[in-house]
């Protein structure tokens, strides 16, 4: 067995254990944290397409999660839509929004791109905050009912968690397929050598724009899960703090790795929820955790641990098919 397949086995085992942990602990409190971790993980994975695989650091990604959640809330509360038909509309809206915002943001790269995503994200926050006739302004929109699924009432935490596991698995599989696809490879190439990729026949701008839309779509999916879980949306959810938090998840966990954002989301949500129940200065602990990650595993937790594991495991060098 090569080290790569050993590490894959270890990762899969840990993932299954992590998914089962809230159920083993049994209390609704922990099961609900499990659901929140998975929602944050889907959100962070969507940003990872841009930051990790595309090399485009966006700090306005909460706009897509928030807009999607607002659309579901508005349509179900004020226009009599069912949760699922509202969700379909919400995905359509965020895809169109990502297409327009992407076309604007991709006029720049690097810091310019980052600043434009920040401006666009804050615009959406401003709309949600100021347009109080529709969005409820600072009061937000409360009382969105959790839907039934196949006759089962998802208000029950265990059932909702099961649906989140299924959704997370679909997102994870979709991500794996994407990063190994022609378009996914093309995106990673444009991250490392945009000029060369153009010369090789890859349309760099269009590849990035499509990636931007795909990232917006999955953030929209996370937004639907978010409103399904909380039943409440506030302008803060699409603001800068939320955008920065998800970016932190991606970077701390390991940008450009499949499981990095999942680990990052777990660290942030667990610290936020579990530790804050016992320690009032939990933000301090979160800060210390990030400092520790930056010092000990600067490339992020997942690639960092992978490096450590490779140095611990017996030297079964990965030569792939070399020489065969």
């Amino acid at each position: 067995m090569t080290n790569t397949s050993r590490i894959t086995t270890i990762s899969v085992t840990l993932l299954i254990l992590a998914l089962a942990a809230p159920l083993l602990l049994g209390q609704p409190f922990y099961i609900n944290i499990g659901s929140q971790v998975l929602i944050a993980a889907i959100f962070a994975m969507s940003l990872n397409i841009l930051v990790g695989y595309g090399g485009m650091t966006s700090i306005g990604h909460a706009a897509y999660l928030g807009t999607s959640a607002y659309v579901v809330a508005l349509l179900t509360l004020q226009h009599g839509f069912s949760f699922y038909s509202a969700s379909a509309v919400a995905l359509l809206v965020v895809v169109i929004m990502a297409a327009i915002f992407g076309a604007i943001a991709l006029r720049g790269t690097g810091i310019t791109f980052l600043m434009i995503t920040l401006a666009l994200g804050q615009t959406m926050w401003g709309v949600a905050f100021r347009w109080s006739d529709v969005t409820g302004g600072d009061n937000g929109l409360p009382d969105i009912k959790r839907p039934d699924l196949f006759g089962l009432n998802l208000v029950e935490p265990g059932l909702f968690y099961a649906v989140m596991i299924a959704l997370f698995m679909v997102a994870l599989a979709g991500m794996w397929i994407f990063i190994h696809s022609g378009l996914g490879l093309s995106l990673q190439g444009t991250r490392d050598q945009p000029r060369r990729m153009g010369m090789l026949g890859h349309h760099v701008w269009l590849v990035r724009w499509i990636a931007f839309i795909i990232a917006g779509f999955w953030a929209g999916v996370a937004g639907i899960a978010f409103i399904g879980y909380h039943g409440y949306i506030h302008p803060l959810s699409l603001g800068l703090a939320n955008s920065a938090e998800v970016l932190l998840m991606v970077i701390a966990g390991g940008a450009g790795t499949l499981l990095g954002p999942v680990v990052g989301a777990t660290i942030v949500v667990v610290l936020k929820m579990v530790v804050s129940a016992y320690v009032s200065r939990w933000v301090l602990l979160l800060g210390c955790t990030f400092v520790a990650i930056v010092i000990l595993l600067p490339e992020g937790v997942v690639p960092g641990l992978e490096r450590l594991l490779k140095s611990i495991l017996p030297a079964a060098r990965d030569d792939g098919e070399a020489g065969s």
């Binding site: 994407f178 696809s181 010369m199 090789l200 890859h202």
Partner: protein
């Protein structure tokens, strides 16, 4: 019967502000030619490449590739038209293996580059052609090594492999020998000599021995202009060339 023209440049001019980087350059490269672009630093050789490949937009003038006007066409249109280039500064994919580097080149001319679902790894047409391209430059034994484990000379050869993998009609080589040791130079020289004659070559190179041995014809540039063109004897005998290039 007139020989087919691979590349025709007419009145090409590029200004960077007040600087005329390229000044009314005309160039005709017949199919199958191996042309050496010679000239001191700042003569505009790489700028001319960038104008041909659409990295830069010309101020004036036109470029025709096999009779087709490609003036100002964005660079991603070049590969499907059979135009490939290498870079003076190594421009490869550091996180990938050598084979994966070539696969990205093959993907550039495949419609699969747009597919968000088709897995590329393990596809025979990519794997086999990538290995063939690596074999052509003598790197097939290292196909699955990450780029970081290769020497500078091997990276230079991989640069050429990426271009050759696309089976281009016209290949622009920008200083393929830059920074190489004597032995590595001979290896890359042999590699360039082994490129099939139906691929038209334009070569920028400072190593006179190698460059003059490889080239069928030579164009000398100076301050953005073509000052002399011909075979080796003609160029070496030209008094202006002696003055500005060889004598300095």
């Amino acid at each position: 019967m007139t020989a087919e023209i691979a590349l025709q440049i007419n009145g090409m001019t590029k200004n960077f502000g007040g600087l005329k980087a390229i000044d009314r350059v005309d160039l005709t490269i017949p199919k199958g030619d191996r042309r050496l672009l010679l000239g001191p630093n700042g003569a505009g050789k790489t700028t001319l490449f960038n104008l041909i490949t659409g990295d830069l937009k010309p101020t004036a003038g036109s470029v025709q590739l096999f009779g087709r006007d490609i003036t100002g066409l964005a660079s991603h249109h070049c590969a499907p038209l059979g135009l490939a280039r290498t870079y003076q500064i190594i421009t490869l994919f550091p996180k990938n293996t050598l084979a994966e580097n070539v696969v990205l080149s093959l993907l550039g001319i495949s419609p699969l580059r747009w597919s968000p679902i088709s897995r590329i790894k393990g596809r025979k047409e990519f794997e086999e052609r990538a290995r063939a391209a690596l074999k052509q430059v003598g790197l097939d034994a290292k196909a699955d090594r990450p780029l970081g484990e290769t020497s500078y000379g091997e990276k230079r050869r991989l640069e050429i492999a990426l271009a050759l993998a696309q089976n281009p009609s016209l290949l622009l080589l920008d200083e393929p020998l830059a920074g190489l040791s004597r032995q590595e130079r001979l290896d890359v020289q042999a590699l360039i000599e082994s490129i099939p004659r139906d691929i038209t070559l334009i070569l920028i190179e400072h190593d006179m021995d190698v460059a003059l041995a490889l080239a069928d014809s030579i164009t000398v540039m100076y301050h953005g202009r073509v000052i002399c063109e011909g075979d080796r004897a003609q160029v070496v005998a030209d008094p202006r060339v002696k003055e500005i290039y060889l004598a300095s």
